[in-house]
Amino acid sequence: MLCHLADLDDGEARGFEVPGLKAKVIVVRREGRVHGWRDLCPHYAGGTPMAWKRDAYLNGARTHLACHAHGAWFDIETGACVQGPCLGKRLTRVPLRLDKDGGIHLDR
């Protein structure tokens, strides 16, 4: 389990280390839905982590996921870059599964 739904406020994002994955998994909750994304900005080949501080993945207005290396903004629901250096690219989705008790898991 990555975390519990109750530990993630609406509009909040958190990053989780997952054994076997070189980058964290970002879990972001927005308007009642939970999305999973690899913590890899597609600006540079191979991807680079995006937060400026632990779990600081969102832009100031909390409307987009942001890479704090060079200011790329990503749509929280689709992962598409809407502003910045990787315009036209997108984040890699991580399928998530919600169990009946509100636990958030990788769906694999």
């Binding site: 995006m50 100031g60 290396a69 903004w73």
Partner: protein, 315 residues
Amino acid sequence: MQIIGPDFLVFGVDDVPACHDFLTAYGLDPVGYSPEKGGRYIALDGTGLEIRRRDDPSLPPALKTGNMLRLQVIGVVDEAALSAVEVELSRDRQVLRLADGTLRTQDDQGFELAFQVSIRKPLDLPGEKVNAPYAPGRPVNAVGVTQDMPAKPRTLSHVVLFTPDIDTAVGFYRDRLGFRITDTLTGAGPFLRPQANPDHHTHFFIRTPPYMQGVEHLAFHLGGPTELMLAGSRMMEQGFESFWGPGRHKFGSNWFWYFKSPLGCNVEFDADMDTHDDTWAPREAPMGPEASQAFLLQWRAKWAPGGGPPGGPKG
């Protein structure tokens, strides 16, 4: 042109308190900060950053790209140097002389510029001293490191810009303002130093598509590699996130450690940069991992060998 380099960089950001947290942890001293209006963040010699809200009406217009850099305030040696900049740039663009004597204009790609007689206050602080065999750098009994020694940014070093047209940028900074090209990373762009500053670079341009125009990173000089390692380690211990480093660049020889930031660009600690004069012959190398650094390391939490062999006594 007797230009020294950037005195201040001004940003219009969308999260002022986050920038305050970051820049104070980075070691700059806040002046006049409020969560509503932002503030100034000052290095030891008086250079620094100014952080305002993105919608602050006192700021120059934003770049169309969403990049948060709004103004470079460039310091020159004296009033005569300021007048020389004014005369040169007034030949083909509007240059405003503000009430405080500052010049305001734009470069040829829409980066907003101000020029002023530099506010830098020379520091009376020793640099890092290194003991080598037969060549002691420190007096006897002087220790090289303590856990809580200061490791504060001393001066604003350089700004790196994502630039859609390198030829246009060089045409302005070299041919109009008299900057010298010190080295070039082909595929990226040139390093430049102004005439009144021996540092390897105060500006570096990276060729990008127009939708990326803006600041790529900025850096302040620290007193030496030990200060850089301490300052970066303190950031890591507080949960800030490294982008690249620590390591040592080849061009410029400066030690580096870059951190992601809520300014929408990387913010670098830098130490022990080469200095040059006009006898220097510029080098060129293809941009890539080999040319970018002599070595690259990665931080980890403190650790020590100990505990004895498996099954053996502790300690």
